[in-house]
Symmetry: C2
Subunit: 464 residues, 2 copies
């Protein structure tokens, strides 16, 4: 048997019209009209279903097929018939149908609308629904688009480590990784747990960012990027936070903050254009059933320049907006999601980079501006999401970086190799982090991060 995918048939209708094919897939619906029947077959190769018509007397096991349950898998051999004018452009008239695997009567995905909350409890089956089929295909296409974007420009992909023995970023709560016996861990003289006996000979955690490691590779390859999982052990039970998520972190030598924003903007446009081109059916679905303005909004973003505004100006805009915020805004405070969304949704009505934040609210490695009180950071805010990218030019001046580390009560010794990068041929450099799930939410209009993660890990939940 030579199998043809449904995507191949739809992509080349003239070729397949009149030909005999064998298609394999799962029934989304089965209708028994007594002397004939219809199967809406989906094989996962594309969003669309293929209509199978089967007739008593032609298909010899008609009764067996007609009584199958939704979700059953079939191998169908038949002729492709073009049906111009009909709802679908073509169908397959079955000559033979084989039940590959039946579907038990209690199959949870009967033909009715289920809540996303319910579907999360059957994460092993939800990719068979329109919503999740579309979301996870867009996720896959977007991931590949990101690789192509960077690889085509000569960026080197670096797999930065997942397990780290440092907490250099110091960003939020981390997960411990251990092989010690939790019931009875080895203890040192003072009674404290003796991590020298742990697997790595010291205390270890899951990474929160690959940036510092990526910087060391940027100082060799010029342009690099990471694309891997990162972790936060924050107990935030929101629609935007997950304990495990994927991040893209490019890092570029000989690049300043303007260049950094140029790359970020070009990347977002490239991802949008690629997904709109490769997933038209999925995007039409999201536009109809999830977020009415989606396609228009994304098209607008892909074709317009992102705004750029300094933090100082942004704070003025917010203060003078007359809008009542839950959290008051003033120079020096961190922007809340409500502020970010107001800026991008109400003030600029498109993506906006907010730059040059007060140093106190940003990470130690960001480059100090000449004003002595702001750093060369740039966060990209997008409508419906808020912050999607956080970037900065990095502090390349050894004395300033060391000073900042000390100022924050950290020990420069812990950063010996990171500081080395400034001792030996340091360069101006910059980079950013894109939260991949937020990007997929932005692309699809899906509003809960749990519904763009194949198997979401959140506080209290690590099923499947």
């Amino acid at each position: 048997m030579k199998r043809t995918t449904i995507s191949q048939i739809f992509a080349d209708q003239d070729h397949f019209g009149g030909r005999t094919v064998t298609v394999c897939g799962w029934a989304r619906t089965i209708r028994d009209m007594k002397t004939f029947g219809f199967i809406e077959l989906n094989d996962g190769s594309c969003f669309k279903n293929l209509q199978i018509v089967f007739e008593d007397g032609v298909v010899e096991n008609f009764k067996e097929i007609a009584k199958q349950n939704v979700g059953a898998s079939f191998v169908v051999t038949g002729t492709v018939v073009l049906t111009p004018g009909a709802k679908q452009p073509l169908e397959v008239k079955a000559a033979a149908i084989e039940v590959e695997g039946p579907s038990a009567p209690e199959y949870p995905l009967q033909k009715k609308r289920h809540s996303v909350e319910y579907l999360r409890t059957i994460a092993h089956l939800r990719p068979r629904t329109n919503l999740f089929s579309a979301a996870f295909r867009v996720r896959s296409v977007a991931a590949h688009a990101i690789h192509c974007f960077f690889q085509d420009q000569g960026f080197v992909y670096v797999h930065t480590p997942i397990i780290t023995a440092s907490d250099c970023e110091g960003a939020g709560e981390m997960f411990r990784v251990t092989t010690l016996d939790m019931e009875n861990p080895p203890r040192g003289e003072g009674g404290a747990v003796d991590y020298s006996q742990d697997f790595f000979g010291k205390s270890a955690n899951l990474t929160v960012s690959g940036q510092l490691n990526a910087e060391s590779f940027a100082m060799a390859f010029g342009n690099v990027y990471t694309f891997g999982p990162t972790f936060r052990a924050e107990k935030s039970n929101t629609t935007r936070h997950a304990a495990e998520f994927w991040m893209i972190e490019p890092e570029m030598a000989f690049c300043d903050l303007q260049g950094d924003m140029d790359v970020a903007e070009a990347m977002i446009k490239y991802i949008i254009n690629t997904v709109m081109e490769k997933c038209p059916d999925e995007m039409a679905f999201f536009n109809s059933f999830v977020d009415k303005g989606l396609v228009e909004r994304l098209s607008h973003v892909a074709s317009s320049d992102f705004a750029r505004v300094s933090y100082t100006e942004a704070v003025e805009l917010l203060k003078n907006s007359g809008h009542k915020f839950e959290y008051p805004v003033d120079w020096g405070c961190d922007l809340q999601t409500e502020h970010e969304r107001f800026l991008t949704e109400e003030v600029f009505r498109k993506p906006v980079f907010v730059t040059d934040y007060p140093k106190e609210i940003k990470a130690f490695y960001m480059r100090l501006n000449d004003d002595g009180r702001t750093v060369a950071a740039a966060d990209c805010l997008v409508p419906g999401i808020g912050e999607i990218i956080g970037g900065s030019q990095r502090e390349e001046r050894l004395d300033l970086l060391e000073g900042r580390i000390r100022e924050l009560g950290m020990d420069p010794e812990d950063y010996w190799w990171y500081l080395d990068l400034r001792r030996y041929g340091g360069t101006k450099h910059a980079g950013f982090g894109l939260g991949f799930e937020r990007m997929v939410m932005y692309l699809t209009g899906v509003s809960n991060i749990r519904d763009v993660l194949p198997h979401p890990r959140t506080v209290g939940s690590a099923d499947f």
Copy 2:
């Protein structure tokens, strides 16, 4: 300043000859010939260096440049001069050179050969050497080739979870992931650690494989693949084991073991061909300095059919070989690396799939053959490495799978969702796992896994 990369100049010599360019990079060597000097500049955009000639009187800060240390970074503006007949096809005559970042006198990468063991202690600098520059670029190109191979055929990329609350695979030792206070964890009534108070509400680990999750997506999308980090807490301190490594795991519905091997073989050939085409300088370097027969061997593999032999036949071949093995071989025993390498290096002299292993030495999910004692497994063995791929057709028959789970003393309840995939439209399906680092070792001839991992994590070591 519009920056030109060295790779652009070498790729389009006719265009750049005679033109003024600005290049940025790091000095691999600097030679001061009193009235003029040479810099071998590397910018990481390609393996090759660019020769910069700078002359006293032309470059106004000649003395400053001439006294710079190896490793310093420069911004050079000058004219590209084609030099047919010379060792290098072109050089840049500098008009102006700016020191972007000096390199301190104790820079560890002076121009001499360092041992790989020493270079592992400066993992933040080793990508600046020829060996690691080549290895990590090949790694990046191979990773992208894998994405392209699958995406071009319509496979959906699935990010299977890193943190899992099941140990479904039961494969070897796992790392615990926890936010409990190790010094004083909460305990239940009997005194045992109370994992219901841990972050996920239960005991959690780092994944050893995304396969079971990938299967659930294959039952929706047909063809899927994973590419992500996996973990083993085995204390094996060998040249082939790391605690953290990357795996590729395709999973295909409506596919049997023959189809599985076809995809695996096509994938390996595609990776080899892509790397040979995109990294000619790197491959020439490995062929000269790391593994003399490398390019010839890889070319041979890319153009010949892989052998296929059953485990039963393979055992006979080994027993009748007259070769003295450290571990004796007999039907029923697991093949050791020495056996695997003998088969691929001495018997077949090319990659070989060994199929249909005794069920006792393989995982519970592999499909039982009609003989009742072997399973439809296929391991791919390659010269110099041994096993690089482990694959199988999966058991799609609910009763047999459940029986096997019980037989092994496991609880079918723990596998409820995995078994569901056989209840609701189950299909014949198959997949495999490729150890990415082993693939990179195979491509480069590098013999220690620590030298193809950007920041290796092994027992007792998680630096950088």
